[in-house]
Every structure is written in structure tokens, then in C-alpha cells.
């Protein structure tokens, strides 16, 4: 199998999308009162920190940022699949009665978000959970939608979307890999 990849969003594009999402967050919530950000490991955590940076630039307030590892809440653990590595969940603040904005890089089937919401609720009872994603690629398997979308990307189910970020030592870009059979 060979694959060809094409860039759908470059560094500038990612920056602009996040700026717009930041403005939408402020608009929808009429400011930043009681807001917290929780990123889903790994990509979502970096994006949550970037969003926190943008929100600080615009409104001057610093939001708490947490990290969620959803491995222990996955619904496919008993299926025949490779064993996922368990990483650390770090939420150093109380989320009860707060508005939590979950942040992830790619929204696909929605199963990750389901797991993330279940885990969040084990940490407390947030007043509201909102969802921000950089890419919405469609093909939902659960009734879940994002409140903030950086870019909607129509894809075929077998295609692969990857968000590469400089925090992971990559050049900022979003690529779509198109699997071609020989």
C-alpha cells in the first residue's frame, strides 16, 4: 500500500482557525467567566494551551487548562485491538459548576468525546460541557456535535486525517492521507 498525502491546513491556517474559535468562545459565553479548558491527549492538550493563549491576548484573562487521557474509558478495550498506552489525566482544578470546553484535534466517530465526557463527569459536575475541535471530518457514530469547529473537512471513511503540531516536533499542518491500493 502506498499513500499520498496533501496539506489541507498550514501553520497560518491553523492559527487563523484557532483565533476565530477563540472569538466564538468569547461571544457564545459573553466573556470568560467560569470557563475552563480541558484538552484530550495528545493533540487536544496542545490546542487547549494555544486557545488559552489566544483568549488571554483578546480578553486578558488566564483560563485553567487540564489534560484528559481517555484510554481507561474507551469502548473498544475488550475488542481485538492493539493495547493502548495509558497516559496521565491531569485536571488540577475543580470543574464542578464550571463551564468546561473540551478540546480535541479531530472529531470523527464521536467515540472519543463520549469517553471524555464520561471521564469528566467522574471528576465533578460541570455546569456545561462544550466541544471545540480543529477539524470536523464527519462520519459520526454517536449523536455528538461540536460547538466550535476550526475547519469542516469532507472525507471518505478510509482516509486518514492527521494534525501535526510543533509541540510534537513537527511543522504545524493538517494532512489528509489517501490510501491507494497497488
Amino acid at each position: 500500500m502506498k499513500s499520498n498525502e496533501r496539506i489541507v491546513l498550514d501553520a497560518l491556517g491553523i492559527g487563523r482557525a484557532l483565533s476565530r474559535v477563540a472569538h466564538e468562545i468569547i461571544e457564545r459565553n459573553k466573556g470568560l467567566a467560569d470557563l475552563t479548558l480541558v484538552g484530550i491527549r495528545t493533540g487536544g492538550v496542545h490546542l487547549a494551551h494555544r486557545l488559552a493563549g489566544k483568549l488571554k491576548e483578546i480578553e486578558g484573562a488566564v483560563l485553567p487548562v487540564g489534560a484528559l487521557d481517555i484510554t481507561l474509558y474507551r469502548d473498544d478495550l475488550s475488542k481485538k485491538s492493539e493495547q493502548p498506552a495509558v497516559r496521565r489525566t491531569e485536571i488540577g482544578f475543580d470543574i464542578t459548576d464550571k463551564k468546561v470546553i473540551l478540546v480535541d484535534d479531530v472529531l470523527f466517530t464521536g467515540r472519543t468525546i463520549r469517553a471524555a465526557m464520561d471521564e469528566l463527569i467522574d471528576f465533578g459536575r460541570p455546569r456545561e460541557i462544550q466541544l471545540a475541535v480543529l477539524i470536523d471530518r464527519g462520519h459520526r457514530e454517536l449523536p455528538i456535535r461540536a460547538n466550535y469547529v476550526g475547519k469542516s473537512l469532507p472525507t471518505a471513511p478510509e482516509e486518514k486525517v492527521e494534525v501535526l503540531l510543533k509541540e510534537e516536533g513537527e511543522e504545524d499542518r493538517v494532512i489528509i492521507e489517501n490510501a491507494i491500493k497497488d
Binding site: 492493539e82 493502548p84 467522574d122 471528576f123
Partner: protein
């Protein structure tokens, strides 16, 4: 990267990378223990059986909490209340448990090799929770976890294990694990309690506690097994305590930041003085806390996903 082994019978079932994987995974599970709701749904629907043919409170409870925090269903079977007392063989007992669709069986048995026998005959995963004087692998894993938590690395560490090495499954597992990660291991105790083959395991032998303590980073004290008294391994309690008890004076011979460990239960005033047991160097209670996290990691790694030899394609593509 999953574990290659179906069971955990001996530290030798693991390689260095797998050992590190277990310790790293345990770090994530330790965080779960600090939450208000100390429970994750990971092993929902799995059945875990604690099959204990020897008395145990700490280890049994530790496995029980680990399984419950992972949402598995757990059943405790102890020798006194079981059909073993009615003459059923170990294998028959185990086959009946397996027939009830147990996924994981945790075994403690007075005979070395009993868990291995079960592991070979059964499809369920078997975890050795101590077999005779053979091994107690999860104790060694939690000891390593506790050492790494405080010392950050194993390179260049000198670990002293003191007491009845001959009868100690904790000592065997600890020595194998510590050698695997590159620590220097010294064992010390009365000559009657040091097995002859010890040097083959890569440990240095001492008979004088004071000498062994010089430059030590970690001191692991073994419990003086009172139930073995009368087997002429040492003349009196008091003499043993004088020669091999860890007192503040002796502790001062080790490095300033030396840590003191004990698998429990401790005999205060015998192998460890109360001042040391309750002192700043003691990490005995951290060992107990860490035991639950390490056992959660072992339960998770042995029961989730396919093993390396049968892994299919990943299902988490974005």
C-alpha cells in the same frame, strides 16, 4: 506495546522494556487513586478471582482494591473456607473457577510452582501473588516503583536487602528486578539465611549489617518470619535483633538520603526499630499506596487488548 506473557509468575517473565512499561502505566493509575471517584470503567465485565491458600491481608486487599477501581468483579476464595479443605486438588479448584468464566486468577500458595502449574493448564491469565519461597513479582514491581518515585533512576543505586533471604520470595523477585534495571544489590543476614546460589543472581553477600550499609541508597528489610522460629536459623530473637535490626545508629551509616522499605507486616523492635519505621527515611506506607497502582497496571496490561503475537490492526485511526 503489550506484554508478551499471558501470565505473571516470575519477574523473569518480563524483559527490561516490559518492566518499564508496567512502572510507567502504574504512574497513570496512581493518579486515579487521588480522584474523588477512585474508579474507572476499564475492566467492566471482567471477572477476577483472588485464590489465596495462605493468609494475607495486604496483598489480597491490594489486589481487591486494584480490581475494583478498574470496575472488574472480584471474588475472594481462601483456603480455609474452600473445597481445598474437603480434599479437592488445586487443579480441580482452578478448573471450576475457570468454568465460571474467570478472566484473571490471582494465586497465593505455600508451594513454589503452584501458580506456574495453573498458568500452564488454564486459558485465564494467572498472577502469582506469592508462591512458597519462590517469587512475589508484584511486590518487586511496587518496590521498584517506590524507588523510582524517590530516586528517579536506578543507575548507580546500591540496594541492601537484609534478613531471611533463604525463605524470602520477596528477596528473589526484588533481586531479579533490581539487577534487570541495573542497580547494585547487596544481601545481608545470618549465614543460615543466605542461600548458596545467591551469587549466581548477581548479588553481593555480606554477613555484617554495618558493612553492608556503607554507601547504601535503599534498604529493604525483610520480615523476620516468626512462624519459622524453632528451625535453628538463629539462636534468639534478641540476638537477631541486635545483629540485623535497623536502628537509627545503623541507618546513619547509609547515605544521608537513604530510603527504608519493608514489604510488611513489620515486627516493631525486631527487624526495624520504631524510630526508623516512623522516621523520615521510611517509605513503608508509600509502598502500600503504590501497591494498588502497580497491581492496577498489571491487571490492565494482562487483560486488555491482544497480545503481541495476535494483535490485529489498530482501531483508533483518525
Amino acid at each position: 506495546m503489550p506484554l508478551k506473557t499471558k501470565d505473571l509468575i516470575s519477574i523473569k517473565d518480563l524483559d527490561r522494556d516490559e518492566l518499564r512499561l508496567i512502572l510507567d502505566t502504574a504512574e497513570s493509575f496512581k493518579e486515579v487513586g487521588t480522584r474523588e471517584i477512585k474508579k474507572v470503567p476499564t475492566l467492566r465485565g471482567k471477572t477476577v478471582v483472588n485464590l489465596f491458600f495462605e493468609p494475607s491481608t495486604r496483598t489480597r486487599t491490594s489486589f481487591e482494591l486494584a480490581a475494583k477501581r478498574l470496575s472488574a468483579d472480584l471474588v475472594n476464595i481462601s483456603a480455609s473456607g474452600s473445597s481445598a479443605a474437603k480434599g479437592e486438588t488445586l487443579l480441580d479448584t482452578a478448573r471450576n473457577i475457570e468454568a465460571m468464566q474467570a478472566d484473571l486468577i490471582i494465586v497465593r500458595h505455600p508451594c513454589a510452582g503452584a501458580p506456574l502449574l495453573l498458568a500452564r493448564k488454564m486459558t485465564s491469565a494467572v498472577i502469582n501473588a506469592g508462591d512458597g519461597a519462590h517469587e512475589h513479582p508484584t511486590q518487586a514491581l511496587l518496590d521498584l516503583f517506590t524507588i523510582r518515585e524517590r530516586k528517579k533512576t536506578f543507575e548507580g543505586l546500591t540496594v541492601v536487602i537484609v534478613g531471611d533471604i533463604l525463605h524470602s520470595r520477596v528477596a528473589r523477585s526484588d533481586i531479579h528486578a533490581l539487577r534487570m534495571v541495573g542497580a547494585t544489590v547487596r544481601v545481608v543476614g545470618p549465614p543460615t539465611m543466605i542461600p548458596r546460589e545467591i551469587t549466581d543472581w548477581g548479588a553481593e553477600v555480606f554477613y555484617r549489617f554495618d558493612e553492608a550499609l556503607k554507601g547504601a541508597d535503599v534498604i529493604i528489610i525483610l520480615r523476620l518470619q516468626l512462624e519459622r522460629q524453632g528451625r535453628s536459623l538463629y539462636p534468639t530473637f534478641r540476638e537477631y535483633s541486635n545483629l540485623y535490626g535497623l536502628t537509627p545508629r545503623r541507618l546513619a551509616l547509609a547515605k544521608d538520603d537513604a530510603m527504608v522499605m519493608h514489604p510488611g507486616p513489620i515486627n516493631r523492635g525486631v527487624e526495624i526499630s520504631p524510630d526508623v519505621a516512623d522516621g523520615l527515611s521510611s517509605v513503608i506506607l508509600s509502598q502500600t499506596t503504590n501497591g494498588v497502582a502497580v497491581r492496577m497496571a498489571v491487571l490492565y496490561l494482562l487483560s486488555v487488548g491482544a497480545r503481541a503475537d495476535e494483535a490485529g490492526p489498530g482501531s483508533d485511526e483518525k
